[in-house]
């Protein structure tokens, strides 16, 4: 099955700066894919090149199995990072227009717009002007505009920024619905908890460079455990070498230092067994995506700084 998106050696230069530098990754059809990175890392530029909004200086993009941009665009949904709608227009009219731009007929666009407004809980506001809505409501309307034509692939650039927890939850449900329908979702963010909740595969970009790419669970396992959690009626003293211990929620958590010169899950287990302590529960802790993100970005920046010296 052709992939939904293929990006190969993608590069974009502004002035003297490579804002995207030789990035390569692929997004499979029907998956939820995370495009991660700190602010200014090149995520938005990468998305814009994928959508043919801006032209890359090098590299290639293949969207929906190599379709031309003109043919692909009606099958693409997009929620840009720079959000906004025409303030003086009515909500229903704007959504209907966005649907027509995506190729729906006038009547169908209007019906779909009404359906989506029902879905996001804004149907009663359909005849209000956009300027009368709150920021969160406007974002929901714009998100509705990105998906009302049932696209095959949806790009969401920082979809949750500026939303309250309730609206974030609603948007996550909508993303899951689109995924269940078979759409591919690519969303960019720097909030790792959202990625861990929704994504199967991710790519991490920082300062235009690709740092990580692959399945989330594999990326975590590749880094090895960074600790274990143990529930037992007592604990070995002293604390197993190369670990730092803390109690949390009825467990004792043993953390291993990043340097890798500390303890391992096996050494903690041996400590308990040697002390003759019965273990009720023993869990290996993999690094969180947030930990991986901070680690990788810091490493990349330290490397870049030492090169420049």
């Amino acid at each position: 099955m052709p992939s939904a998106l293929e990006v190969k050696d993608l590069t974009k230069i502004y002035g003297n700066r490579k804002v995207v530098n030789g990035v390569t990754f692929g997004v499979e059809q029907g998956e939820i894919f995370g495009l991660l990175g700190p602010n200014g890392s090149g995520k938005t530029t990468t998305i814009r090149m994928a959508l043919d909004i801006i032209r890359p200086d090098a590299g290639a993009v293949s969207l929906l199995g190599g379709m031309s941009p003109h043919n692909a665009l009606p099958r693409v949904g997009y929620l840009p990072e720079e959000r906004g709608l025409l303030k003086k227009e009515k909500v229903l009219d704007i959504l209907r227009y966005l649907g027509e731009l995506k190729g729906l007929g006038y009547g169908e666009a209007k019906d779909r717009a009404s359906e989506m407004l029902h879905r996001v809980g804004l149907y009663e506001h359909r005849y209000k002007k956009v300027e009368a809505l709150s920021r969160g409501m406007t974002q929901l309307v714009q998100f509705a505009g990105a998906i009302l034509h049932q696209p095959d692939i949806i790009f969401l650039d920082e979809p949750f920024s500026g939303l309250d927890p309730i609206n974030v939850q609603m948007m996550k449900e909508l993303i899951r619905e689109q995924h269940a329908r078979g759409a591919t979702v690519v969303f960019s963010t720097h909030i790792m908890s959202d990625v861990e909740e929704l994504c199967e595969r991710v790519v991490l970009i920082a300062d235009g460079q690709l740092l990580l790419y692959g399945r989330l669970d594999e990326l975590k396992r590749a880094r090895g455990a960074n600790g274990v959690r143990v529930r037992a009626d007592r604990h070995p003293q002293p604390v197993p070498a190369g670990t730092s211990a803390a109690s949390r929620n009825g467990f004792t958590e043993y953390r291993f230092p990043d340097s890798g010169a500390g303890g391992t899950p096996e050494s903690v287990l041996r400590a308990y067994l040697d002390a003759g302590i019965a273990i009720e529960r023993f869990e290996v802790m993999l690094p969180s995506l947030n930990d991986i993100f901070i680690q990788e970005v810091s490493k990349a920046r330290d490397g870049a700084n030492s090169h420049s010296r």
């Binding site: 814009r48 959508l51 909004i53 801006i54 032209r55 003109h70 043919n71 665009l73 009606p74 099958r75 693409v76 997009y78 929620l79 840009p80 720079e82 959000r83 906004g84 709608l85 025409l86 303030k87 227009e89 227009y97 966005l98 027509e100 731009l101 995506k102 190729g103 729906l104 007929g105 169908e108 714009q142 505009g145 990105a146 034509h149 049932q150």
Partner: protein, 426 residues
């Protein structure tokens, strides 16, 4: 099940959309927005409303100011010197023994004006002219009439009656005007007709240019607004930037044509009726045959300014900045408007013809020339060709600037960036 089938069909049809379809969608939306603007609707009906108002008011004003069939106003005077002593009896001239009695008569409305001839009148020519309190709009005719009476009286006993009659009517003008070749031709047009012949094409050209700039200004605002509101990013991932530009240009042009059409129809239907109410304005009317070339220059002029405004709207950092740039674009037409007297006076003169071949002044100059007189067909065609070529060239440049400038949020497009955009292929 049926809904799913309908949606599958829709999906299949969506894939077959052409550039023309995209332009149609944008056209429809922009046209709807433009024609719903309150300002657009008011401006469209304003001109016919003014014509209708003129149709009603001209006869009313004429009645109020006309002196036809009315007896001349009675003038009072005080003549201590006896200048008017030899005046024949005239019921419209009343002499008063004292200034006080004369002023009382003026206050009472018995006389329209009261003149007091100074004792040293022969040396100084001084005459005091008293008017009533409500005489703000009192005609200067009364002063002219009394001057004429004084002149007659001064020479009455010293010249022959024929000379006296000549003093009262010193000149009957036979007017001539030099044509384009410098040959004198009889000029039999009344002043009213000459004024009408100047103002009608001038005002019409002015209105047309206002419509061109209003329509293209709305286009600039629409582009800059969508850019400022960030909606443009969702649009460029739905349709090609060129389709956005083309749809907007066509929609606002169509709205402008409708507006101009309403004005033209009202001018053709009501204008002559208004002019017929004005004495000696003659049969001046806007010939329906003017419609084709006038519309052609309106469309050409609008297209030229519209594509330019679209590019400016995309290159500017905000709606405010875009509007400031657009003022500069209006300057060539200001030149044409300032020169309108010369153009209307000599529609086939060098100045008028030169402006007709400069793209940014051609629409105004040609519309003035068409209203003022017979314009050679060669000039009409030549002016249109210049407009079309300039419009296509600008469209090519503007489309590239438009595409590149759309996403420069909050930034003005630098000249270097514009040049890069123009050089970059498609």
């Amino acid at each position: 099940m049926l809904k799913q089938v309908q949606r599958d069909i829709t999906k299949a049809n969506m894939r077959k959309r052409t550039r023309k379809d995209e332009i149609k969608i944008i056209f429809r939306e922009e046209f709807r927005r433009q024609t719903r603007r309150v300002g657009y609707r008011i401006f469209t009906v304003l001109v016919p409303a003014i014509f209708l108002l003129a149709l009603i008011m001209v006869p009313v004003v004429r009645n109020l100011t006309s002196t036809e069939g009315k007896a001349p106003d009675v003038i009072g005077y005080r003549d201590p010197v006896g200048v008017l002593a030899s005046l024949p009896g005239d019921a419209t001239l009343v002499e008063y023994d004292t200034i006080a009695i004369g002023l009382d008569a003026l206050k009472a409305g018995e006389v329209k004006a009261f003149f007091v001839i100074d004792r040293a009148y022969i040396e100084t020519g001084k005459v005091e002219w008293y008017r009533g309190g409500g005489a703000l709009f009192q005609s200067e005719d009364l002063g002219t009439r009394f001057r004429s009476i004084l002149a007659s009286s001064l020479v009455a006993d010293r010249v022959e009656p024929a000379v006296l009659a000549r003093v009262n009517a010193p000149a009957e003008y036979a007017k001539f005007r030099l044509d384009d070749k410098g040959v004198p031709q009889p000029d039999t047009k009344s002043d009213a007709k000459q004024v009408a012949e100047f103002f009608v094409p001038y005002i019409f050209a002015l209105l047309l240019m206002i419509s061109v700039f209003t329509s293209s200004g709305y286009l600039l605002q629409s582009v800059a607004d969508e850019k400022e509101n960030r909606m443009i990013e969702m649009m460029v991932t739905s349709v090609a930037p060129f389709s956005i530009m083309a749809g907007k240009v066509l929609a606002l042009g169509a709205a402008g044509i409708i507006q101009v059409g309403v004005w033209f129809i009202s001018a053709v239907l009501i204008g002559p009726q208004v002019l017929h109410q004005i004495p000696n304005a003659g049969d001046l009317s806007l010939a329906p045959g003017l419609l084709v070339p006038v519309l052609a220059f309106f469309i050409g002029g609008y297209f030229l300014f519209a594509v330019l405004m679209a590019g400016i709207g995309a290159a500017a950092s905000s709606v405010k900045e875009a509007t400031q740039f657009s003022v500069v674009i209006a300057i060539p037409n200001v030149v044409a408007i300032y020169g309108s007297a010369l153009i209307v006076d000599q529609p086939n003169g060098v100045f008028a013809r030169t402006l007709s071949y400069i793209p940014f002044t051609a629409p105004t100059a040609m519309m003035l020339r068409l209203g003022a007189g017979d314009v050679p067909v060669g000039d009409i065609i030549g002016g249109l060709i210049v407009l079309v070529i300039a419009g296509i060239g600008l469209l090519w440049v503007s489309a590239r600037v438009f595409r590149a400038g759309l996403l420069l949020y909050g930034q003005r497009m630098t000249p270097a960036a514009m040049w890069r955009a123009i050089k970059q292929a498609g």
